[in-house]
């Protein structure tokens, strides 16, 4: 698992940024206020965009500068702004509700993240662009995002969980698919934007019907 050579400045920077993304995912999990959660998502998107720019500079892939710019504009500015605006209209509740207490949720997430980290290490997938530890961290981000979606019982947290899952996938793509044509990357991002709009519409429909953001009452359909 450990490389023979001492990691250079670039590898160190990249791994640190990936760790920051994972830590932000944990912060989202523990934050009780929905607004704080959306802001944390914005920060996380910003960090992922910074990593794209770092890779662009450090590895000489100029296309990634454009990706970093688009990703910053969409995920760190437009999407959080859309969600926050939606929440301003629906100002009934601002605190989310977990199935478990915060401490238990974090414990579960730690176990899941460790599982993801070590499992991906075993697969021995390595890229020329970023150190393999960044890939393991990215998979851990994806898994913790799933914990967030599963544990929270309000539409905002679940939606933010999905968007941050996409951040984790972006991180994976920076590690193993940095050469992917820009047009595809941008198409993925615009697809995300469409998904955000639809999530927003459905959140609004849900709020209009139940006068709340909680999903605890969505138990009618079963069997």
């Amino acid at each position: 698992m450990g490389g023979q050579s001492v990691p250079d400045l670039f590898d160190g920077t990249a791994t640190t940024i990936a760790v920051v993304v994972l830590l932000l995912e944990f912060l989202m999990l523990r934050s009780a206020l929905l607004r704080a959660q959306v802001r944390l998502y914005a920060v996380q998107s910003l960090v992922v965009s910074v990593l794209a720019a770092v890779v662009a500079g450090g590895r000489g892939v100029p296309e990634l500068y454009a990706l970093a710019a688009v990703s910053f504009a969409l995920k760190a500015v437009i999407v959080p702004w859309l969600i926050l605006r939606l929440m301003r209209d629906a100002s009934t509740e601002i605190a989310g509700s977990g199935v478990l207490g915060v401490a238990s949720e974090i414990m579960v997430a730690l176990v899941v993240a460790a599982f993801g980290f070590f499992t991906v290490n075993v697969l021995d997938i390595h890229s020329d662009v970023l150190p393999a530890s960044a890939l393991s961290l990215a998979f851990a981000v994806v898994l913790v995002a799933f914990v967030l979606i599963i544990m929270r019982r309000d539409v905002v947290s679940q939606a933010v969980g999905f968007f941050s899952l996409e951040n984790g996938v972006s991180l994976v793509s920076l590690v193993v698919a940095a050469g992917m044509p820009l047009i595809l990357e941008v198409a993925f991002l615009f697809d995300l934007l469409v998904a955000v709009v639809v999530f927003g519409v459905l959140m609004r429909v849900h709020h209009g019907r139940t006068r709340s953001l909680s999903t605890a009452g969505l138990t009618r359909l079963r069997g």
């Binding site: 997938i125 679940q158 999905f162 698919a177 992917m180 993925f188 469409v194 459905l202 009618r220």
Partner: protein, 507 residues
């Protein structure tokens, strides 16, 4: 092959006409939008039927669009159901349109809004499902499948009842998470392909499948499993199926038909493209085992759920899970006969399930309930729709002379050929169990006299509009055709597509 401009035009028609119809529906009044949707549906159906003999074992490609035999097989359900459901919609919304026209200005406005949203969404949904099998490349395929999700989630929410809101939220969240995993699969496959195609390429199908033998095994294995779990969420494979009964039961009836017959098939198509790569790189054993496990789990859960279901549309939804399980098992058998059976099954299931949902829509409309215990004597009240619905369900149970009998027979025969005796036996037993559940419930609805119903309503029913009967009749005739004597062109297409799944690269 690609030198024929006429075929290129057909692809462009499929890629542009439905989206044009969706845009026009924004401004058109109800009646015009309904007619336009039907015309668009029929033109698209004609275009796809024209592609059937033309494609053969070759490829038609324009820009980002690329169609080979496997794609055409998966274009057929969408084209057929788009036309049929559009015709059904004329009757389905016709009553409400008449009612609204008699009502107040507010009611008229409300219906106008509903109708506009419906037709915009309906045409856009069909468009996205045409785009997915035509997309040249796994990345574009993922994008198209994601678009099908978001559009159909809005359509599920359209009725704006408590159930529809809940179903739409569950659907969009679960399916999006699934597609998040599907995106991971796409990226990991990109990484695998980059090892032999160079760092920058666009995941186009032909080079990727052509180089599949040279790809590294571990990433392909990872990508395949992620794809089965991710896209399998939208196929409705157990245990990722939980959104499916809700969304199918709560969506407006024409949308349910498209969801079940076409959307599930399109997602399966995505898995099959990964399968095409994976089974060249990894050999047969691993991909087939993965599909077998998910297939048997789906079939088992669906068969048991069918036995104790109390909601007509949920009953049909679980039958979809059952058939997706059969398809996964059929692919896992891997012999040419089983693969041809799988592809025929996709077509026959689309016709039968679309039909069953449309027929169930008539019953639900007529009896004002979805409860299986309260609908009785449908054959007395609905002299056309009752028997047609029963015929559709008999077809779904794979009784001869319908198409599903032929396809399931081929799948089972393929399983015996490949000496997978235990999975084949499990398949036969579980299909029989599902048959008992489905037919038992539906026969009671249609054949038991109305007087035995707990709250027997004595109101004389009447057949709804002819627009709601003819599409079901057309579907039954299509099923008979597939079962008794599939056209030679279709047979050749299915064999070419099965050959592709077996490892032949179309060029």
């Amino acid at each position: 092959m690609s030198g024929v401009p006429f075929l290129d035009v057909l692809l462009l028609v499929l890629a542009l006409l439905p989206v044009a119809a969706a845009l026009a529906s924004v401004v058109l009044p109800h009646r015009a939008a309904a007619t336009l949707s039907l015309v668009a549906g029929l033109v698209c159906l004609a275009a796809v039927l024209r592609l059937v003999p033309a494609v053969g074992g070759g490829v038609v490609a324009v820009g980002f669009l690329r169609v080979d035999a496997l794609s055409v097989v998966f274009l057929l359900p969408t084209a057929f159901l788009y036309a049929v459901a559009a015709a059904f919609t004329i009757g389905y919304l016709g009553d409400e349109a008449a009612q609204a026209a008699r009502g107040s200005a507010a009611e008229r406005r409300e219906f106008g809004r509903y109708s506009r949203l419906f037709f915009v969404g309906f045409n856009a949904f069909a468009w996205s499902m045409f785009c997915a099998p035509m997309a040249d490349g796994l990345a574009l395929l993922w994008i198209a499948v994601e678009v099908t999700t978001v559009i159909s989630a809005l359509l599920v929410a359209l009725d704006n009842t408590e159930g529809a809101t809940e179903a739409a939220w569950k659907y969009v969240l679960i399916a999006s998470c699934g597609l998040g995993i599907g995106l991971l699969a796409t990226i990991v496959m990109y990484y695998a392909g980059a090892q032999s195609l160079g760092q920058s390429y666009d995941l186009a199908l032909q080079p990727l499948i052509g180089h599949a033998a040279a790809l590294p095994a571990t990433p392909v294995r990872l990508a395949f499993v992620l794809a089965v779990v991710g896209f399998g969420t939208k196929v409705g494979l157990v245990p990722m199926h939980t959104w499916l009964p809700d969304a199918h039961a709560e969506a407006p009836t024409p949308v349910s038909a498209l969801l079940s017959g076409s959307l599930l098939a399109v997602s399966l198509y995505a898995i099959l493209r990964y399968y095409q790569v994976a089974h060249v790189t990894l050999g047969d054993a691993f991909p087939q085992r993965v599909l077998l496990v998910f297939g048997i789990a789906s079939l088992l859960l669906a068969a048991l759920s069918l036995l104790q279901q109390n909601d007509l549309k949920r009953l049909l939804a679980y039958s979809s899970v059952e058939h997706m399980g059969i398809l996964a098992i059929g692919v896992s058998f891997g012999t040419p006969l089983a693969l041809a059976g799988v592809l025929l099954h996709v077509l026959a299931h689309a016709a039968a399930k679309g039909n069953a949902f449309l027929g169930a829509g008539v019953l639900v409309r007529s009896f004002q309930t979805k409860s299986l215990t309260r609908i009785r004597g449908a054959i007395d009240r609905l002299p056309w729709s009752g028997p047609l619905f029963l015929a559709s369900v008999l077809a779904l149970c794979a009784l001869p002379p319908f198409g599903l009998f032929r396809s399931e027979f081929e799948i089972v025969a393929g399983g015996v050929d490949s000496t997978r005796d235990v999975p084949t036996a499990i398949l036969v037993v579980l299909v029989t169990l599902a048959f008992l559940g489905l037919l038992g419930a539906v026969a009671r609805l249609v054949l038991t006299p109305a007087s035995t119903a707990p709250a027997a309503s004595t109101a004389r029913g009447r057949e709804p509009s002819v627009w709601m009967v003819t599409p079901v009749l057309v579907g039954v005739l299509a099923l008979l055709l597939l079962g008794v004597h599939p056209p030679a062109d279709l047979d050749a297409l299915l064999r070419a597509a099965a050959g592709q799944l077996g490892g032949v690269v179309a060029s």
